[in-house]
Symmetry: C2
């Protein structure tokens, strides 16, 4: 993408601003890049010269929370954690909790179909979206979806728009499903002699038909980075860590069953139902990205593989690091087979550029994901950065259909051109 | 729809048969109606003269069940209950369980996005479909979706095809998500003095942030029909019944919390963790439809409303029965706000026809659903029977887009014309 300032920035104060901007852009054939908090990791919200940035972060009201229907009506600029906090006042939760939950917006989450730690049990953003108000490329305001939990009237346009990364329309309102907030949480942290052992233990939980609400893996390099940042002693206890949380009425008993599986191969194991201790244990996972980023700029990748291939995937990432001479940290939503390999960039790398070795490592990681029957992006989106990989992942006939659907929504091609599909 | 035999019936023995049939139908402009077990309730699989019936029920193999990845690969003619039984051998379940689970097929479930009793907790068919093999109208074989639990590469064509009632393509293979099968189930049956009390109690469970796996309501007329069929004594115990099941590690304790809410207003309440007693209690719900159908032919309707409007919806259905002089039985997936009003037809009604009073009652019920912010179909589909209601439910711009997407998939308009959208 060419560098330089965009043509204009429109800070939308309401739906009419969005409609007028898109109608005018369609008329003049001007590209529009919709933007929320700008926390995306695939470049979908980055604008080039000649493009209009449509900032909808100002549409940030929680319009309603209905505790009986367990739905929220929100504008797209609402910060995800703020919605979850508002839901908590009614004993409810908004389940999707991407790593950037404290700063990202619901609109951005909808654009990328964002996941998060609770995804293993409670699903991703698409599972929480019941209805959307969307401004189409020509300025038409469209309502899709329903107010009810179930409904099969017509084609699922709501699900189609979720994850479309700003290429089909601009979301200006959403009806979101809320869920009862678990009041009991039981937590375990287990250390293992190798990342392969940790991955096998994660798989073992599935084989025991256990389905914890949280199942996160952190590798040795990441543990060392956390120790360096926080003065903790994770690396002494093992070469990989699993964080497991069970919730709901049977939390303690479910965690006990999980701990029995973990104990078979763990080098160290701690369990608790005390929220303060749990927060301390969970910090090992929460600190992973800050600890890596404290060491410099990084490429944050986002592959997923079938759960049975998790150990192979992590082993493959480590081999790629050795092969390319790059510094790669890996943590994973192990319950979903979703890995985040983080490639640290040399501190002397030009800002805005990716050195060839890091780019090769990233490409090798994507190829690895596909070779294991996985995907190049589990929850961050294709954006700008992975666009050439989309063609390697998808059936060409499916990609062709997607592009024709895009053309049907946006005949002038003004909505986030060159991104996602 | 005009009566009479179809042009031809093709019993597909494999994917190539489906491809050749569709390619030839596209070439000649001949309509194709795909059919599985024919258990649908909205007429989507009914063919008219001049149309080809494409029967895919012979593609009925379970190709693989992977207990570690917790996915199944199946052909569309697999009976839903058979997949669930096969999954049970691995301690897993296939969650969607429509009323017709013992006879309906996975392909039909995908076509209608079928729900069922476990939907309140475990979601509907769309939530269980990871990938599809689909033959397009021109005979192209398309693969959409992924092998992983998460993935955001490209637009969600999989979700678009689920629920499209045979109008976008013919599903010839599916990768389905399986879930751990709950080993503990706790069951309660509560009776109430009125259906309004029962609906309020169901709502009260939500307000207490309880989310049982099953939450079913049966009204007085239906209880009387069950008593007549089975010699049970439900009607003596109350004018409405709630069946509540909790599952998982905390099942007993969760049910206890639910029972405390129910006990506030129930006229009778029984709880159990004994599977044999539970099966007996659950029979009150399972026998509902057979008991009504024992009294003659019936229209099985399928509306949903926001959960907070459940009591109003049931009261409204009872008022419509009085107003139209029709015999209407109501049971409901109360946890989803999904009602099944069953309109019994006069025994002297011409087969294949609906008497005017029954049709008026059905139309009034659809209008009621929309007036309460609901939908005319929660899980059966639009099919042939509710097509004119689709235009009243959906935003005209959304319906227009859906029809353009349909035209894009099927330019010759051969796939189930006149149905669904």
């Amino acid at each position: 993408m060419p560098a330089g300032p965009p043509l204009a920035v429109v800070r939308a104060g309401g739906v009419e601003d969005v409609r007028r901007t898109l109608a005018e852009a369609s008329r003049t054939g001007t590209p529009v890049v919709t933007r929320g908090a700008g926390t995306g990791l695939a470049g979908a919200a980055a604008a080039a010269p000649g493009e209009i940035v449509l900032d909808v972060s100002g549409l940030d009201r929680i319009l309603a929370i209905d505790p009986v229907d367990q739905v929220a009506r929100v504008e797209p600029g609402v910060i995800t954690a703020e919605l979850d906090r508002a839901a908590a006042a009614f004993g409810l939760m908004y389940a999707p909790d991407p790593g950037s939950v404290a700063t990202c917006t619901i609109g951005g989450n909808i654009a990328t179909n964002a996941g998060g730690l609770r995804g293993a049990r409670y699903g991703v953003t698409r599972d929480s979206v019941l209805a959307l108000d969307v401004v189409l490329a020509d300025g038409t305001l469209l309502h899709v979806g329903r107010n009810t939990v179930k409904g099969v009237a017509g084609l699922d346009l709501t699900g189609l728009i979720v994850g479309s990364e700003g290429t089909l329309g601009v979301v200006v309102g959403a009806t979101l499903r809320l869920l009862p907030r678990p009041t009991r949480i039981a937590t375990a942290v287990a250390y293992f002699a190798s990342v392969a052992d940790a991955a096998a233990a994660a798989t073992g939980l599935g084989a025991a038909t256990l389905r914890p609400a949280v199942l996160e893996l952190v590798d040795a390099k990441t543990l060392a980075a956390i120790d360096a940042l926080r003065g903790t002693g994770h690396a002494e206890r093992g070469a990989a860590l699993l964080l497991v949380q069970a919730d709901g009425f049977g939390a303690a008993e479910e965690l006990e069953a999980a701990a029995a599986v973990l104990a078979r191969t763990a080098t160290a194991l701690t369990t608790t139902t005390d929220p303060a201790v749990a927060a301390e244990l969970a910090a090992a996972r929460r600190d992973a990205l800050p600890a890596i980023e404290a060491r410099g700029r990084a490429l944050i990748e986002d592959i997923a593989v079938p759960r049975s291939r998790l150990a192979e995937a992590i082993g493959g990432v480590h081999a790629i690091a050795a092969d390319t001479g790059t510094d790669i940290y890996t943590f994973a939503h192990a319950g979903d087979g979703n890995l985040h390999p983080i490639i640290r960039l040399d501190s002397d790398a030009e800002p805005g550029t990716v050195p060839p070795a890091a780019q090769r490592a990233a490409d090798d990681i994507f190829a690895l994901a596909l070779s294991l029957g996985g995907t190049v992006t589990a929850e961050h989106g294709i954006g700008l950065l992975k666009r050439h990989w989309l063609e390697r992942e998808l059936d060409p006939a499916a990609l062709a259909l997607q592009r024709r659907i895009k053309a049907l929504f946006d005949p002038a091609g003004i909505l986030n051109p060159g991104k996602a599909i």
